[in-house]
Amino acid sequence: MSRRDFLLRKFLLSLVTIFVVIVINFMLFRVLPGDPVRSVIGRNVRISAETQQALREQFGLDKPIFPDQFIDTIGQWAQGNLGISWSLRRPVSEVLMSKLGNTVLLIGLGQVLAIFLGVTLGLLAGWKRKTAIDVGALTFSLVAWAIPTFWLGIIFLAAGSAWFGLPTAGIMSPENTGKPLMTILPDLARHLFLPTLTLTILYLGEYMLIMRSSILEVLSEDYILTAKAKGMSDWQVLWRHALRNAMLPIVTLIALNLGFTVSGAIYIETVFSYDGLGKLFQTALVKQDYPLLQGAFLLLAVSVIIANMAADILYAVLDPRVKES
């Protein structure tokens, strides 16, 4: 497969997946009981039957669901018009955008730490197979896998606040809002510490396991023997020959894990009352705020799909075998 075909295929797959997400989202929107007009203006607003009818026509809700309404809805979504949140009475897109930054900050920190530590430890574990490092790493990732994200968060929350006096909610202390970033950094760090720690520990195990099995596979390849035969030390072999080859599956994993990362954000932001998309998602769920729920789902799903495609492109750049036939 040529590189162009590879990327084209991945691109088409992403398009299809986005389409599937849109269809799911659209259908769920329609199967809800009650008049869809409500989803636009809110549930508890009193309106007369005539106004309701007028609104129906205005939003095209009197037209057939497929294709007219479907195409119309996609058009609206494409313009970033995701409806009005029932509970917050604000446009969904505006609400989403205001929370996006916080979540990206949390996920980004957790991922970077987890990838760095996970890859390093996985490398050591695979290289020094069957030693204490390896057994320790395996045990750790096994337990990390079996622990529910939110429960670990609750334990850290309880321990952190009781023993270390760390804040239990939010991203910064209320008195610090609006102050310049430099002055509130320590406060920010104190708030971010526990959620980031939880995220890192959870993802660490996964990266470690994959890196371990990846490096094990690479180290049993013939070109590693060639490198040793050239007179290289183990470190040189690892650094120059094994690492890059072993990293390739990790790139794909990081992409595939983005969905998993989003799950983590929902749990952890809920536990730590962290003001991001995950917490927003949970609030929408509890308050049965469907426009917000679906808007958030659309945003999360499409971001993950696009990030996935980005990882595929990165993979194609890193692995010369994808370049040409």
Partner: protein, 318 residues
């Protein structure tokens, strides 16, 4: 009794003999088995009904009481016994996990066998469907699905909704695994021979393919069940469980919502989590050991330290 199944039975016996020596596998089996037993004999193991409020001499509910002789794991915010809730919660968590796991296993195995055996368009379709499902973030999808389904007037328990949503979304990895296994079995001599003498598809799948992939399906199911239990606990924690039949996740939801953390009621929020880890760890250990035994992984590599490569005794004068 077909000879392949007889072989399967003999293999199973050999398997048990090898498994018995594997400490991790036995530990996993022990963890899972105790949980199942606790769920089965819940009424015998609990001093109270899970909904019963324990009252003091004045008739007031014994709320947020730490562990004592009256309530071995303390009480919750309404004065109900945590231990009893925990044991009855095992029924809910395990039932949802096992049922969802079985649904996922059934769909996954069916699609995997069909795709692997028949190939062509079915295979292509399956791979594309799994490709798509793999990329959509699963928790948001499930939350939206469950939330919507609950809003519709389906007249079913929220737990049934959970079972089906989890079961219908978690079959893809099983399908891929089974598919690749079937692909290799299909190429083997006796299957080709069987086809050549005119055996039907159903016959070949039943007599040749199924007995071979059965162990793999079992190992995979155990792993899927652990995932399903974890997912259920998460969804219940986010408030999508059945409040009248609390699972371990729903217990944690109550604990968190009713400020068990700020009240320092560790006996409220620790036990359900331990219970979840108990079962999922058990399943993972069991599943991994089974998988490893069926499908041994790499045994050595080129950088494995070999200080003893030269085992010659030092010569004199050195």
């Amino acid at each position: 009794m077909n000879e392949n199944w007889a072989l399967f039975k003999r293999n199973l016996f050999e398997f048990w003999k090898a498994f018995r020596r594997n400490k991790l596998g036995l530990l996993g089996g022990f963890l899972v088995l105790t949980a199942i037993l606790a769920a089965t004999f819940a009424p015998l193991l609990t001093p109270y009904a899970p909904t019963e409020v324990i009252r003091d001499v004045n008739g007031r509910g014994l709320t947020f009481a730490p562990p004592s002789v009256h309530a071995p794991l303390g009480t919750d915010d309404a004065g109900r016994d945590i231990w009893s809730q925990l044991i009855y919660g095992a029924r809910v968590s395990l039932a949802v996990g096992f049922l969802a796991g079985f649904i996922a296993m059934f769909i996954g195995s069916l699609f995997g066998i069909l795709a692997g055996y028949f190939g062509g368009r079915i295979d292509n379709l399956l791979m594309r469907v799994t490709d798509v499902l793999l990329v959509i973030p699963d928790l948001p999808l499930m939350l939206v699905l469950v939330a919507t389904l609950r809003q519709m007037d389906l007249h079913v328990s929220p737990l049934v909704v959970l079972v089906f949503v989890i079961g219908l979304l978690y079959w893809t990895s099983t399908a891929r695994l089974i598919r690749s296994q079937v692909l290799t079995i299909k190429e083997r001599q006796y299957v080709a021979r069987s086809r050549a003498i005119g055996a039907g598809h159903v016959h070949i799948i039943r007599k040749h393919i199924l007995p071979q992939i059965m162990p793999l399906i079992v190992a995979n199911t155990v792993l899927i069940i652990s995932t399903a239990i974890l997912i259920e606990s998460g969804l219940a924690f986010l408030g999508l469980g059945d409040p009248t039949q609390p699972s371990w996740g729903a217990m944690l939801n109550f604990a968190f919502d009713r400020s068990a953390v700020t009240n320092g009621a560790w006996w409220f929020y620790l036990p359900p989590g331990f219970a979840i880890v108990w079962v999922t760890l058990g399943c993972v250990l069991l599943g991994n050991v089974l998988e490893d035994m069926l499908n041994p992984r790499l045994t050595a590599h080129h950088l494995e330290s070999n200080q003893n490569m030269i085992a010659i005794q030092k010569r004199e004068g050195e």
